[in-house]
Symmetry: D2
Subunit: 347 residues, 4 copies
């Protein structure tokens, strides 16, 4: 079968023919319909410092997808050939302390398919059956292909109260944009997005933000406070990984508010814990992955009932063979989602 | 000033002229713009058993309203004459155990204005300033007049998770209908309403229910389960006070689900605790009043940002003098909200 | 091997020789060291209405035990032969809605070992490896054998706040008694136990209750209120399944309090939802099983660090052969735990 | 009356005679029995940078005390002359957004008695009646005098789960030491304290820590992990304000754990958000003041029922006149609590 692989350290990737994966008794083999490209995939493609430290070539990468079950192992009863599915690509061990305490998303022995094992930029991908997620037919294919990052956004937005709350989203990359749609669908009051790129600010507005603010504008902290009874926003969703954005976001947060931190800073940086967290009595959630599988239930219910409008996110649909074009587009900084089709782009 | 008063035990009420209330140093006097009629007011008017046991005539009744601050006591700084306001009519003591524990809505010494003290079916009403709630100009007057029951609905719906959750609402009276709008605005998955009256079922659909079910239909429990992965609804909002509805509602609730009980049964009745609560691992919330004042913050933020559509609820607007017409309409069982205007109906 | 089996409908049980269970690839075989008798086992032995409807003889019953791993299936890595273990006997399916939402304890396809499959009143018992729980060497053997009911008590007590809270425990059977020890260990303020049997009231005091009250005493509701600032207890742990106890317990609960219902009433009964739940703004938790496996983590940490004193609970230690003596003692109503040893009672 | 006052910027304080405070209608006048010295008072006495920016002399300082109500304003009904009381010295406004949302401890217009208004290092202190807290006679006087810092410790420890959880406390100053007693009383598993001063490590052990660790020992992170199933502690209570302690504390925290940050760093510092918060899926609570007044209910219930052993904390009892001796002792770094008696030290 075809697979897009990282064959050696360094920039780029190569499409080659590899054997279809063998299945264990608890595995499912999925024929990939559409795979979406994550920012992490762009890092792997470009081979940044993080990739060099984590990825062990050769590897088929890619971890956002949907497809149909092709075959299942002997013990699998939860899915059947033909089922339309996606998958949680974080595979937890089931017996470490966090797993035993209902927090498998921070399993101490986590393996990520597409990072630590062969992923979905291929015709077929092997997934443990308990990580396979059946997709309701009411959910569009392109949404089904991006449940991984959407789950990040849902996890961040819904880890605390959002209904009737004022929300700041710092960073309007793909997950930031999705979190705007989620907050909007779930009854938040107003949404203020901050984002340096003008075209992403436009996207933020299209996704449902009430205001899309330029972080360079020195008045924006005061503007958020004025719009919120002088208090500041109830909720901060930090989606940028930028120290400056995070600091500004905390200034916009009201006393007693909550922050969900998902964006990954490049290195440790100074945070004004005194004023931003302690004296504020703030609650800060580190957000990693998706709750397994409650986040999946929530997001697929939202999608199934048409509560989320993700349309502005979607960009090119390309055959897997055109991967170089896809990565080139993303390296230019577009926040949209590009879809690769191993079996060819459907009409 | 004019006031609609219950002068003696027995059916009916009388419009009479009474002195404007005196103000204590911490009170505010509000000129009533619009007052809405609650089901409780209909009970007081008709003088049912509950009224006979609780109400001590003479009393100006009414507890849902909006208006403008006319005058404030010497110590009041939080509101000023001219402010457009509504009020929390449950007045808590501030020093009992529940008050000290952040649960003033279940204060052990609660007094209700319009029940235990003169209420808002009058030109003016006296309210302790800390119970007065300023209304954002973006909120329509008729919504401002029904914050009391809307707060009940918001309290019931948002006491637990609702985003991405499937919801059953049993009973489509005014608060049940409002809770449908709230659940819808806050990102619930699907809403199933059950209601015996066909015209209320239609209203339920107009408020945002996906299905409005006749409780007499023996298939509806199964239909809810089928629509919810065989599990049942995640959330039950019990708004009817009917034992049959409550029992049916619990049958529709999934294992691990949560129920908010707001409707008030007429008397104790048999509940299948074993199967409906214990074996299900359900969480049941008794809902009384509104959280003070977090529910007020949530609901006014929702209204201010246009997240709630309450239009289908509103019925006649009448001058206070036409109270007999208003009560006659409500006694026929309409679930809509009728507004009385002590200063005359605006054009 | 020896096994105590229910061979046919009707009273009694029979010790017979049966084959050692076969193991699947994900199973573990445990050599039972000590098995404890649950009230449910007494029902099965006596063959009450519930047993007649649920149990399908022939069956080896028993579901509270500890022992050593004898052998594991090919895929098992989490435990090894020789490990000292107990097990969660509720086996969840892993793919129903509650399982997917982090609530496997209310799995819709739950199987209970010792009820639906052969249990631990035998020399060996087969358990899916993920349900096996390793026991820290600091935990005494007799405590390790009663983790199943202790987990019920921990689940009920710790599902909400308990530190600094006043607690009523209605019913001082084994789980009620354990819940007293748990509440005490976890910093509750005062504990009021209610129990009809004088000897169980004495046990309640020995387990840490501040007062052990006779439910027939008409002054006890007032006494609890007087001791709690006039408010009532913060927490009700209902452990009796008696309608009268439950009603009295709710009268002792303060406005805004929480109740954990674990005792199983024999049939539906009238509950004063209005005054006990709705007007009180109470939160009621149905408690079934143990959270998997967070309750196990909590209780074994408590035991390992010596926080729980369960000594007063333990009664006779008997060889499995003496089962008739054991059941006879329990049928007389003792609340203590009797231990059966398939391999003979250790010195 | 006598009062210990800061008369001008700069080191020191002066005992002088001042008029007894006037009372407003909602105030109470308290005759101070015992006042305890907070680290903040030591800063004010020594006049550090924070004091120079915040304190406006002349000021009677001191904010930890107990005493008897001497007189109350005309509207006060909640306390009476002769009542034995302490007080919450954080006075909230009641109408800002956090106050309205049930978070008065982070009121945007907070005034602190003893910082922003005359405090308790005096014969009498004026307190708004709603901030006065009645003390149960079962609570020892010296405990009643330190409810303010004890409340900080209770707030930090009980903001999340503690029963059956492993806890790290970084910093064994007075509040750190109290938090050890609280965690112990509330059923934590093991407690690891880290502290640079050997004598404070001894105190930590006397308060109930299982291990008191020297932060300079490079093996201690691994030791905490080894003792906690390889995972790390469930709970971090950061009580030092030291960046090094905080960083080390986070390394000791398990994935999915929670941290309560109370110690106040001197300035912003670099935090490894990526590994310590985000990838860990940690929850971080900023802790400021005490929940009003739920923390007060919890801590006084714990004290009343003898659940907390605070004995090791108490040091010298001195007449107010000996304040120089008291501050000299504290400036040497003792972590104990010194009590000043404006009316003379009782026998």
């Amino acid at each position: 079968m075809k697979a897009l692989r990282k064959l050696r350290p360094g920039r780029g990737a190569q499409l080659e023919s590899v054997p279809v994966p063998d299945l264990g008794p608890a595995d499912a083999l999925i024929r990939v319909r559409a795979a979406s490209i994550c920012g992490t995939d762009v890092h792997i493609y470009g081979w940044d410092r993080w990739s060099a430290g984590r990825i062990r070539p050769p590897l088929t990468f890619g971890h956002e997808f949907c497809g149909h079950v092709e075959k299942v192992g002997a013990e699998v009863t939860s899915v059947r050939p033909g089922d339309f599915v996606s998958a949680e690509m974080h595979v937890n061990c089931g017996h470490c302390r966090p797993c035993r305490m209902g927090q498998p998303h921070v399993c101490q022995n986590l393996k990520i398919i597409g990072i630590d094992a062969d992923g979905c930029f291929a015709e077929m991908v092997r997934i443990p059956a308990r990580n396979v997620w059946k997709i309701d037919p009411a959910i569009p294919e392109r949404c089904a292909a991006i449940l991984d990052p959407l789950g990040n956004a849902v996890h961040a937005a819904l880890v605390g109260e959002i209904a009737g709350r004022n929300v700041v989203v710092t960073g309007a990359g793909p997950i930031g944009l999705m979190s705007i749609a989620v907050a909007r669908a779930c009854g938040c009051a107003s949404i203020f997005a901050t984002e340096v790129h003008p075209h992403r600010r436009l996207l933020a507005l299209r996704m449902g933000a009430d205001q899309a603010l330029d972080p360079a504008d020195p008045t924006i902290v005061d503007r958020v406070r004025e719009a919120t009874a002088g208090a500041g926003a109830d909720v901060l969703l930090e989606m940028s990984g930028s120290p400056a954005a995070l600091q500004q976001g905390f200034q916009m947060l009201r006393p007693g508010g909550r922050a969900s931190l998902l964006g990954i800073p490049k290195e440790p940086f100074a945070l004004d814990l005194i004023n931003d967290v302690i004296f504020k009595g703030a609650t800060v959630y580190g957000i990693y992955g998706r709750r397994m599988f409650d986040t999946w239930v929530q997001m697929t219910e939202l999608l199934k009932h048409g509560r989320l409008n993700l349309d502005p996110l979607f960009r090119e649909r390309l055959p897997l063979e055109n991967f170089e074009q896809a990565f080139a587009l993303l390296e230019k900084g577009d926040a949209g989602k590009i879809m690769l089709y191993p079996g060819g782009v459907p009409k």
